[in-house]
């Protein structure tokens, strides 16, 4: 097991399987929220389902809509379990707070999109500011 330290985050402790890419994220720009998949053709996760995953991405991008959208996605149970960023913008943090979605960023060991890869199981602990890699 490896523990990655980060800034204290928002939301509860959760575990799950990682979906990771060195790309940015906006719920408005990148997702088909009805079907729960990435729908932007040039996104590195295009076509992949994000539902119940631990999403690992570089930065949040785009507009303000993501804040409401995270809440709406959680209500329909069509949301990721957590999102990890190298740097979150204000919108994703605000949306995560309303939705009680787990979010962490600012990792001490470097680029989180290369430290954690798709398919790994991780434990995300926002109150204590760390993420534990449970499987290779």
């Amino acid at each position: 097991m490896r523990v990655l330290k980060c800034h204290k985050g928002i939301g509860p402790k959760v575990s799950g399987m990682v979906l990771s890419a060195n790309d940015n994220f906006s719920a408005r720009y990148d997702l088909d929220r009805i079907n729960g998949v990435f729908s932007r053709p040039n996104h590195k996760l295009f076509g992949k389902s994000y539902v119940d995953t631990i999403l690992v991405l570089n930065e949040s991008k785009g507009g303000v809509a993501s804040a409401w959208m995270l809440y709406e996605m959680i209500a329909r149970k069509m949301a990721p379990k957590a999102i990890l960023f190298n740097k979150a913008n204000t919108i994703l943090a605000q949306g995560a707070s309303l939705a009680s979605l787990s979010i962490c960023d600012r990792f001490e060991d470097g680029d989180i999109t290369s430290l954690i890869v798709s398919g790994q199981n991780v434990l995300v602990d926002p109150p204590n500011g760390n993420v534990t890699i449970l499987s290779k």
Binding site: I10, E59, V64, A65, A67, W68, Y71, K87, A93, S97
Partner: protein, 408 residues
């Protein structure tokens, strides 16, 4: 965070359950960004379209109304997602309209003014230098920060609502001098002439910044842009980069606050006409079929409405043409006969909405719209994820292409 007596009382629920939710939401966000305290805001602008909030969001609003929630400072709204006078022809459903009606009712109950505009700096009240605000809509925030010298973070709908209910926002990000300093230098070796050109330059800077936390300082723009030009410039930059602030030497009010020492270690980038052409090539090519033409994002000013009206004169369109403007501009344009001039050509003017937040995916499917043409560099960026194949051209070429049904 350091809290005042009033803020502690709010947090405990002594000023009501709505204020309790609001301040505790703000404290959680403030702690995430290491805010030390709160700053009072003079007014609030909230994005709250029905596609984004959905049924869950409306219920959230209605629950706040039951708590007798009232805003403590003037608060206005971003564009709606449904023009209640014109939604069935677009393929929007009663369910969508119902979310819209319930949202309007709940917001109005809280004292929120339904201005429904993303160009409030042109139509409602321009922010002042140094004024602390809690604004939603990235285009509004980047204009207010950069052109006016006001101070706001991107406030998503929940946090804007919280700011309205408490009259304050956590002091982090762009409320701090430190976060307003340039982090990258750009030299523009290209002369933008039309709105779309300005959008393309803004888009490239945004892409190269690629982060909310980068602040570009820009050299080489020798012409003072118009409000509409810098509106498209900023809106595109914010869309492509999540960028909330820029400085332009000799033009924006904070640009001269930074001396050569502040800038000497920053990475330097150039933007040339080849870069512009390369980005533009991503959005359609001559001869492409067009399904719909849209003027929106940001909503059109009265000057843009006049130009559209002139271009529509004596034209007959083969494809739908939609024009989105604010209710404030709409009423002026109606009085000045511009709405009639535009709609006599078969185009349709929507008031208080913006196309991309009008359930763009669903109305695209309902109408068979895939190839969308616009002069907005922002909207062509957004709609790729909504199943469209967007194309970009200047306003005149958009109109002429709508006559032919293909991109000229």
């Amino acid at each position: 965070m350091n809290l005042s007596q009033e803020e502690k009382a709010m947090s405990k629920g002594e000023l009501g359950e709505a204020a309790k939710w609001a301040i505790n939401h703000q404290i959680e966000v403030g702690n995430f960004f290491d805010a030390e305290d709160f700053v009072s805001v003079s007014n609030v602008h909230m994005m709250v379209d029905p596609e984004s909030i959905g049924v869950a969001g409306v219920k959230f609003f209605e629950n706040l109304v039951k708590m007798n929630a009232k805003v403590r400072v003037p608060m206005i709204t971003d564009p709606r997602g449904v023009d209640l006078d014109y939604y069935r022809p677009l393929g929007q459903t009663e369910e969508m309209a119902d979310i819209e009606r319930r949202t309007i009712k709940a917001c109005s109950s809280m004292g929120i003014l339904m201005t429904n505009t993303c160009v409030n700096y042109q139509t409602i009240m321009a922010p002042l230098y140094g004024e602390h605000l809690a604004y939603g809509d990235t285009g509004v925030v980047i204009y207010s920060n950069s052109v006016c010298g006001a101070r706001s973070n991107f406030e998503g709908g929940p946090s804007a609502l919280a700011a309205g209910l408490t009259g304050r926002t956590p002091r982090y990000g762009l409320h701090l001098d430190e976060k307003r300093k340039p982090t990258k230098i750009f030299t523009i070796k290209y002369e933008p002439n039309e709105l779309t050109d300005w959008g393309l330059v803004g888009a490239l800077i945004g892409k190269m910044c690629g982060s909310y936390w980068e602040v570009p300082i820009i050299e080489g723009i020798n012409k003072i842009p118009t409000s509409d030009e810098i509106k498209h410039f900023g809106a595109a930059m914010a869309s492509y980069g999540s960028t909330p602030l820029f400085h332009i030497k000799g033009i924006t009010p904070e640009a001269d606050n930074f001396n050569s020492d502040d800038l000497k270690d920053l990475n330097y980038y150039e933007i040339k006409s080849t870069d512009i052409n390369s980005l533009k090539a991503d959005f359609g090519k001559k001869g492409d079929k067009i399904d719909v033409v849209v003027f929106a994002a940001p909503q059109l000013s009265i000057f843009e409405m006049q130009k559209v009206a002139e271009l529509c004169h004596d034209k007959i369109f083969k494809v739908p043409v939609l024009v989105c403007t604010s209710p404030q501009v709409y009423s002026d344009a109606l009085r000045m006969n511009l709405i009639n001039q535009i709609e006599n050509s078969g185009a349709k003017v929507l008031q208080g909405t913006c196309f991309y937040n009008q359930f763009a995916r669903e109305i695209g499917i309902a109408n068979g719209w895939v190839r969308l043409l616009s002069n907005s560099t922002k909207i062509v960026n957004i709609l790729g994820g909504y199943g469209y194949k967007p194309a970009l051209a200047n306003m005149e070429k958009c109109i002429l292409s709508a006559v032919e049904g293909k991109l000229l």
